[in-house]
Symmetry: C2
Subunit: 352 residues, 2 copies
């Protein structure tokens, strides 16, 4: 038995209808709503074949049929061939919305993840870049009060991280620049992830230049190093989690609760995203997901890059019965918009 043209037509019609309604679809519905030119009886025979082939299941004997994960997979693969390059008409629009005037990366992510969930009506999330691979370019100390200091860590990619801290005794303002320079010199070129392992030797080296500084700063060095090495934590943004409450398949509070608990846990989201490969766009349907809590969900993910290197991922989680074509094109457009904005606002110094 093979998937002839008519079977494909019927299968697509069933999937389309089920995506719309979340209700098991019967032969009559198909023959009425979609003009296939055949009677319900014929459709019934075809549906029976499709069930045998594993594309459909019946929830119970007298009900219509619903698509299986296999059906969605077929549907998506087919979609894929056609909309390989969906007309990203809204790309400019998207970029304008998520472009944050304040130039803060943080806001870009917050905006993006919000837009993503508003457009798709599903749960969406963004894994922010891990900074551990980033290289330190410069350190700048800024006095706030005579005992309170702001330490700015300027990375090669021009992202700025900061640590605030207090000293037990005041540092004269006029030594700030000297100390900043000393710190910059010693830390220049190191990756954030390296700091932790070499901090002891760094502290010792810095200790030898303490004529510039004073003892209270020296006391704080271990603490500062700790803070710096902590900056590499994985950061996951999410939004639209409670959208699933609007879906009929989550009418049951217990089921909704289970889903929400899963996606509210940033570390499980981060792990989830680690599994999906490094493809520009990946789709994982139902049982293809590793996690039990997402057995009835599909996951559409994309990557975003900085100078051609993958630095983070974005994704949308919805029911397997999701509007794939809309979600796929939204995710794709969003990843492209983020690429543009990030690469435009956080250039490496490629002049050097």
């Amino acid at each position: 038995m093979s998937l002839d043209k008519r079977k494909v037509k019927i299968l697509k019609a069933i999937i389309a209808s089920y995506i719309d309604n979340a209700e098991a679809v019967g032969s009559r519905t198909i023959s009425k709503k979609y003009e296939l030119g055949v009677s319900p009886a014929t459709i019934r025979n075809e549906m029976s074949d499709l069930e045998e082939m594993g594309f459909l299941v019946q929830p119970h004997a007298s009900a219509g049929r619903i698509p299986t994960d296999k059906a969605y997979r077929y549907y998506v693969d087919d979609l894929w061939k056609k909309v390989q390059d969906p007309s990203n008409t809204n790309l400019d629009q998207l970029r304008n919305i998520i472009e944050d005037k304040s130039n803060e990366l943080d806001s870009v992510f917050k905006n993006s993840v919000r837009i993503l969930s508003q457009f798709t009506k599903y749960t969406s999330f963004i894994v922010a870049p891990q900074l551990k691979q980033s290289v330190i370019k410069r350190i700048q100390l800024v006095p706030i009060t005579d005992t309170k200091l702001l330490l700015l860590i300027i990375l090669q990619n021009n992202i700025v991280k900061q640590v605030t801290f207090r000293m037990s005794s005041p540092i004269p303002f006029d030594q700030m620049d000297k100390i900043s320079a000393a710190l910059s010199e010693k830390l220049y070129g190191y990756k954030l992830e390296d700091i932790d392992s070499i901090k002891d030797s760094l502290i010792e080296q810095l200790y030898h230049v303490r004529e510039h500084s004073n003892d209270s700063l020296m006391e704080l060095l271990p603490y500062l190093m700790d803070q710096i090495s902590k900056l590499e934590e994985i950061n996951v943004y999410s939004d639209g989690i409670t959208n699933i409450l609007d879906l009929p398949e989550y009418n049951d509070v217990v089921k909704a609760r289970e889903f929400i608990s899963f996606v509210e846990d940033k570390s499980s989201l981060a792990k989830l995203l680690q599994f999906v490969g490094e493809n520009d766009l990946a789709i994982s349907i139902g049982h293809e997901n590793q996690y039990e809590a997402l057995r009835d969900c599909s996951l559409i993910t994309a990557t975003y890059k900085f100078n051609g290197k993958l630095i983070g991922k974005i994704g949308v989680i919805g029911p397997t019965r999701m509007d794939y074509s809309k979600v796929i094109s939204t995710v794709k457009s969003m990843s492209e918009a983020m690429n543009e904005i990030i690469n435009q606002n956080f250039d490496d110094e490629n002049k050097e």
Copy 2:
């Protein structure tokens, strides 16, 4: 008919039982679970009186009774007299948890609101201080690249705000301090909320010192002023919103959805908190709330201060059937812990 001692005892027993179970409580239950030394029949008579007095209602004829808002109000007022000063045994503990090593106010709020919802199991939130009343102490420009600058606004209370921006042409590094000084001098002493109204005259004044600077910075001045005046936006932190999914009264997804939609909207939360007065601790029960969506909820709020001046509020929203004594003492302890941390880490310069 008056609230004699026995009626009070029975009322409290009923409230306690209902807080525990969320199930209408009958005379038998009371006489069994709480040792009052009287028979169910007697309790029935008393309950009938309590109903007439408006403290109890029957959901339907053959059910037990449940407390009204009036009952909770009585209960809370009574509680109030006794636990005016609950032993804040966990204050130190709390302070340790929410004290953020990084000295970031943002993290303090994030930690606090998380702890608040974890302790109470209800939705909790914090209205962050509005900075519009804060006075500018100093401006510091920090170069990131030759065209990208970080503008640090250091406020009198030692909170630091930042704006990142790009210039169309490079500024020499060695002019940074001069420009910073000029900006500091002109903006010193202004409140953030004033900037917007006087920015035109400020720009003009700064224009006259442009010998220190260059034209591209001048072009950006209006933009900078806009950014600065935008810093005053109200910021609301919230956490534990989805905890209500665990409550039996929100077993209905539609009802849960309604509640969640309300509290996810930060602006409605902010408005809600504006209504409650400036008391150190305020309790608003059921119909006492302004908003329809909170008609079945109680709201416990407290304030936190900086140098004795109210700067923000914290709160917990739960069902009217909440464990008031626990929530009240948690909210109270939390507000005290926040007071301590904020006043300790963000001192005004009281030496001047």
